[in-house]
């Protein structure tokens, strides 16, 4: 017992000594700039509105970070108090909406990924005269549920436009990589691709383990040499695919949904053909702003239809413009 403890202490001491010894700083790390905020904005709550923002985010997904960042910026710009909450479980998300109703917020923005499960809470909100807008998911059902407006992308449309684009480039047998089992929106994207390129094949990978993703895709590329495109549905899987492709010496091209700094870099370097961006920052920003305008001025955005924030293609032609925003984590 004592021996172990002493050994542990000695090890820590060793690590510290090494850390102090190598004092030479190394490049490539954080760029040390003044942490100036994105600026301005009103005092929180200056407009007197409180908006509840409810999503089905699974903690740790970079995508929702951007949605949240957009919502927070809008709240700051418009002096709104933002109450963000999330739960991937449909029942718990319904409760979050219900508790927003109970606390009498001025407006609710919510994702409608499981319309049936959320219908009750959304009805409760409209019954209490609280305006609701939908975002990200639920484009088919938002009106029927009683939401006023909708901001998001249509996964099937996005998949189809990706399919159209690769079909034009000559794709015959693309591989569509699903990184989460049983996800409706991921399946819809692949189905959209398949709608335009009938030779599309789906594959399932364990998105929580990069080594497993890489070796699975590598195995698939070795098994079927006729695969000419790999469509991935998030950025990390896209990066893993590039590694797999190098290993399998495959000439298949890579295209991906979603965008982050590394993907943007690979688009610039030509390793990724294009990224299909649904502009999550805009979804968050517009959802909050539209509620603000509705409360303040009775505005209705979208002319009675869903407002599409995507698919927006990012490729070599426009990457130079978009790269700075990606690095800023807002695109």
């Amino acid at each position: 017992m004592n021996a172990t403890r002493t050994r542990g202490v000695r090890l820590l001491a060793l690590a510290t000594v090494v850390a102090l010894g190598v004092t030479a700083c190394s490049g490539g790390g954080r760029e040390k700039t003044d942490e100036s905020d994105s600026g301005g904005g009103n005092a929180p709550g200056a407009s007197g509105y409180t908006i509840a923002f409810v999503t089905h985010e699974t903690p740790g997904d970079a995508f929702w970070d951007k949605v949240k960042a957009g919502a927070e910026q809008a709240a700051k710009d418009e002096g709104v108090i933002l109450k963000y909450s999330n739960d991937p479980d449909a029942g718990k998300q319904a409760q979050l909406i219900q508790s927003a109703v109970d606390s009498k917020v001025s407006g609710i923005a919510t994702t409608l990924v499981t319309p049936d499960a959320l219908a009750g809470s959304v009805k409760a909100a409209t019954a209490a005269k609280i305006p609701v807008v939908g975002l990200n998911a639920g484009i088919e059902q938002y009106k029927q549920l009683g939401a006023l407006m909708y901001f998001g992308s249509d996964d099937t449309v996005a998949g189809e436009s990706a399919g159209e684009r690769i079909a034009a480039a000559g794709a015959k047998h693309p591989l569509c990589v699903i990184h989460q089992q049983g996800s409706v929106s991921l399946e819809a994207r692949c189905a959209g691709v398949k709608g335009k390129v009938p030779g599309t094949e789906n594959i399932q990978v364990n998105g929580a383990d990069d080594a497993a993703v890489t070796s699975t895709i590598q195995a698939k590329l070795a098994q079927d040499k006729t695969i000419d495109y790999v469509i991935t549905l998030n950025s990390q899987v896209a990066l893993d695919t590039i590694k797999a492709q190098e290993q399998a010496s495959s000439t298949a091209k890579v295209a991906t949904f979603d965008l982050d700094a590394q993907v943007a870099q690979q688009v610039q370097d030509g390793k990724i053909e294009f990224s299909i961006d649904q502009q999550p920052y805009a979804q968050g920003y517009l959802a909050v702003s539209s509620l603000y305008l509705y409360l303040k001025n009775g505005n209705d955005i979208g002319g009675g239809r869903a407002v599409l924030t995507g698919p927006s293609f990012v490729d070599k032609a426009n990457i130079a413009t978009i790269l700075p925003f990606v690095k800023n984590n807002t695109r």
């Binding site: 021996a3 700083c25 790390g29 590394q262």
Partner: protein, 339 residues
Amino acid sequence: MSSRALSTRFLARPEVGALVAAVVIFLFFLIVAPAFRTPQSLFTVLYQASTIGIVAVGVGLLMIGGEFDLSAGVMVTTAGLVASQFCWWFGVNLWIGALLSLAFCLGVGFLNGWLVMRTGIPSFLITLGTFFVLQGANLGVTKLVTGSVTSPDISQIAGWDSLGAVFSSSFRAGDSTIWITVFWWVLFVALAAWILTRTRTGNWVYAVGGAPDSARAVGVPVVRTKIGLFMAVSFLAWFAGMHTLFRFNTLQAGNGVGNEFLYIIAAVVGGTLLTGGFGNAAGVAIGAFIFGMTSLGIVYAGWDPNWFKAFLGVMLLLAVLVNLYVKRVATSRRSSDDL
């Protein structure tokens, strides 16, 4: 008579059932999957097996010692995140981050072991707690440090190349790529096998897992041995984390969840008893190999991916059943020998 006793002794070894299962599954995929028949495929399978197998060796030792570690899966991600973000934030050489991360992981392993021994609460619960803490901290700290939930690009920081050579290099032999993790895996398995069979520590591990009270009574340092085992798991989790970091550069803070069960499955398929006191290093290695082979064999066979998990489950169940059957045959023969 003596040849019979020899075969019985062979069959009673923990890894034999797994070995039989591995051969059966291997032949099965050779038959159904043409793409499986190339050396490239074998090395891809070995790579996949090594990424699970490195940590599974430690988890297997710990289970022989009668304890569980549910925090091992996320600790792999934690290890990478600590090294990567520390170096990125302070702009220091990556070796410093790697050593700091090692110290951190060993600290968590020590804490796991110390809490289990100090409180007497089952390790299942203690490490479930650590698991949640690490999972939350991975996300929370990454978000605080980088403003996003993905760790930053560290490939331009000094030390990247040398660390990459140690943890994630590969070379080509013919058409196949062989990853260094395969060699590290073999080395760790050999080391674990040596410790278990040739050293006093190995005897202690079996003793504390099989009969802790008697072990304590005959003077085995139970507390020290168990804490050491938890620290061995965290060392190997750190090692796997370093591989992931230096191969993939950026890590998603939510990754690693679920892998703790793969380690346990590899150990159990390899003949380790869930109740402790029985098992060996080679068995755990074969268990990891079965996992790698099954998960990729399904892909090489070109089967409908939606059934992936179902296939995997059936294969693993079969492996466990074969294992059990062989063990039963062995023990019944042994008792008939005694007559």
